[in-house]
């Protein structure tokens, strides 16, 4: 059974969004996503200052036998990239909700309404 946290937003593409303050969020992938992928060996992320556009590809997570594209759950400017993941991609498997990928300044917080809450996401992955 995959772990789902209550206070996060979720996308259909198995990413989570955590609102830190006002319009700043963290983005990562869910417990379900990491368990489907298996041992994560590489996370391909954009650079600080790059723009995310909701629904567009922005990177990829790679395990030994699979690669999964990352689809931006929201739009905004990347203000920080989690550099730790380069050296320790296994963190994504160990603590998927701690191992954030990007810190993003939202363009429009209304976009969060397009995402799922924990209940809806639970339903999504039980299908």
């Amino acid at each position: 059974m995959s772990k789902i946290l209550k206070d996060l937003y979720y996308s259909d593409d198995h990413e989570w969004v955590k609102v830190l303050e006002n319009d700043v969020v963290l983005i990562g992938i869910t417990d379900f996503a990491q368990s489907e992928l298996g041992d994560v060996v590489f996370v391909d992320l954009p650079e600080e200052g790059d723009e995310l556009v909701q629904g567009n590809e922005f990177g990829a997570v790679e395990s030994v036998k699979a690669a999964s594209d990352l689809i931006a759950p929201i739009s905004g400017e990347i203000i920080e990239v989690n550099e730790e993941l380069a050296a320790e991609p296994e963190k994504v498997n160990q603590e998927p909700y701690e191992a954030w990928f990007l810190k993003v300044k939202l363009n429009d917080s209304k976009e969060l309404d397009n995402l799922l809450d924990h209940k809806a996401y639970k339903e999504e992955i039980s299908e």
């Binding site: 041992d39 060996v41 590489f42 790679e62 030994v64 991609p89 296994e90």
Partner: protein, 494 residues
């Protein structure tokens, strides 16, 4: 000598040599005369070893390999048939391998005859008009075939035709080739019979005018014959598209039916599968591309042509262009011709029949313990979906690894992607009933082990030169060379 584990670099002793080169004859010249701006600073870190060192090293590591002459090699989709020795003997003759590709054509007429005759025979066997032997491999052939399709549409002003339909059971090279060729993929789902759903296909192509064609492997990667093939070809042709046949599974059809007769316009043939040339640990293969007469002007340059009894080379502006240095993997083509002349028309017709008989024999004997997702006659290969009895969570991977312990190569696993525990078995026509029975017995034994001693399977293999490998370590550490290795050891130990 299974314990042997040295890298050639670790045998190196300064000042030891393994070569024999002539003495310098022109002392007035020396490479050091070149301005140092052109010369490398350090010597490359190549090993310094004796001739015997080299022989022992490679002989020892060769013993850790499994080849077709070691035992049964039922790798699905790869057609691991016997690679005849006479092919090697003749292909090694200096009358072929010492020819420079640019030497005057009247000094290489025999070599061109080999090229020309092989393309003729391939044309007859496939029911197409002409082949180019220049593509280097199956995937290369796919790309060249798609280029021809694209060029055909462009030559008619149909620049908007850029979609290629591909079933979800296709080899990964198919969609990858489409994108490399600058076109787009429309993937369609297989039906419950593991085949193309004609009604769905009809719906897919209706009201569109951007269909460039369809890529289809027939028999498909589930080993099933696309029995609606004539309808499929008709639908695609009516939509203005061309039919591409991925010839990976041509072996099943030899002597029974020709792709051209089923409506295919373009195809590639894997000489290393169907026509017995050795796989070489992953190459060199050869992927000749054949086309209908209407498309023959688009075949890649250079082309080998015949006038009266003379062969010549032609480069045409209508062609898609050049896709190889010269004439492809020529010595591989030579081997394929030798094989075809060894069989002749009298024997080649049994290849598809025996390959199909062998696969069905295995299917029938294993279907009581292995899950058969699609019933009915298979062609040259059969796909199971793991064990029927799933209680001990024994996976296809475990079954494959256990087979290695029993001295047989594993089948193809986890492909096609349609079934989570796919195990794809292709026996080929060169295997005897006794070998098939032995394989069947072992597969039954493994099924019993899965029930009674599942740990044996999860630990397997234990009798091979090495045990299961740590693939996560490989992907994370990224040690791709001896230099990386030394850096890694240095870091680890300090």
């Amino acid at each position: 000598m299974i314990e042997y584990n040295k890298l050639i670099f670790e045998l190196s002793i300064e000042d030891r040599i393994g070569y024999s080169l002539p003495d310098t004859k022109f002392n007035n010249y020396n490479i050091s005369d070149l301005d140092e701006v052109f010369l490398r600073v350090d010597n490359p870190d190549l090993p310094e070893v004796s001739e015997l060192d080299v022989l022992r090293h490679f002989t020892n590591i060769s013993n850790k390999n499994f080849g077709v002459e070691n035992g049964f090699y039922p790798l699905g989709s790869c057609t691991m048939k016997y690679n005849p020795k006479i092919n090697e003997e003749i292909a090694n003759s200096r009358n072929f391998k010492r020819l420079h590709p640019l030497q005057p054509i009247f000094t290489t007429q025999g070599a061109f005859k080999v090229y020309y005759d092989l393309q003729k025979i391939l044309s007859e066997i496939s029911g197409l008009s002409e082949f180019s032997l220049n593509p280097y491999a199956g995937a290369h052939g796919e790309l060249i075939g798609l280029m021809i399709i694209k060029k055909y549409h462009e030559s008619r002003g149909d620049f908007h035709k850029n979609k290629i339909i591909i079933p979800d059971s296709a080899h990964g090279t198919n969609p990858a080739s489409v994108v490399v060729c600058g076109m787009e993929v429309i993937e369609i789902e297989s039906n419950e019979r593991g085949r193309v759903d004609v009604d769905f296909l009809k719906e897919t192509v209706s009201n569109r005018d951007d269909i460039a064609g369809m890529m289809l492997t027939n028999p498909n990667t589930l080993g099933m014959f696309e029995d609606d093939i004539c309808k499929i070809s008709k639908l695609i042709h009516e939509a203005g598209g061309l039919m591409y046949n991925d010839g990976a599974n041509l072996n099943a059809l030899l002597g029974k039916v020709r792709p051209g007769d089923m409506g295919f316009d373009v195809m590639h043939i894997n000489l290393h599968k169907t026509f017995s040339t050795p796989h070489g640990g992953g190459g060199p293969g050869s992927g000749p591309v054949g086309v209908t007469e209407e498309l023959s002007d688009f075949l890649p340059n250079p082309r080998v042509k015949k006038m009266d009894d003379n062969f010549y080379v032609e480069n045409s502006d209508e062609a898609i262009g050049q896709i190889s240095s010269f004439y492809g993997n020529y010595l591989v083509s030579l081997r394929a011709l030798i094989y075809l002349l060894t069989l002749g028309k009298e024997n080649i017709k049994y290849v598809g029949r025996y390959a199909t008989l062998n696969a069905n024999y295995i299917k029938n004997a294993l279907k009581t313990v292995y899950e058969l997702p699609i019933s009915g006659n298979c062609m040259h290969e059969v796909v199971f979906n793991g064990l029927i009895n799933k209680e001990n969570d024994v996976k296809t991977l475990d079954i494959a690894k256990r087979l290695l312990d029993y001295g047989m190569h594993a089948p193809t696993i986890y492909f096609p992607l349609l079934f989570s525990q796919a195990i794809m078995i292709e026996p080929t026509e060169t295997e005897s009933l006794q070998t098939l029975d032995e394989f069947i017995n072992i597969m039954h034994k493994i099924a019993i082990e899965a029930k009674e001693t599942p740990d044996k399977l999860k630990d397997a293999p234990t009798r091979t030169p090495i045990r299961r490998t740590d693939e996560v370590f490989a992907a994370k550490q990224m040690i791709f060379s001896y230099k990386d290795y030394l850096n890694y050891i240095d870091k680890r130990d300090n």
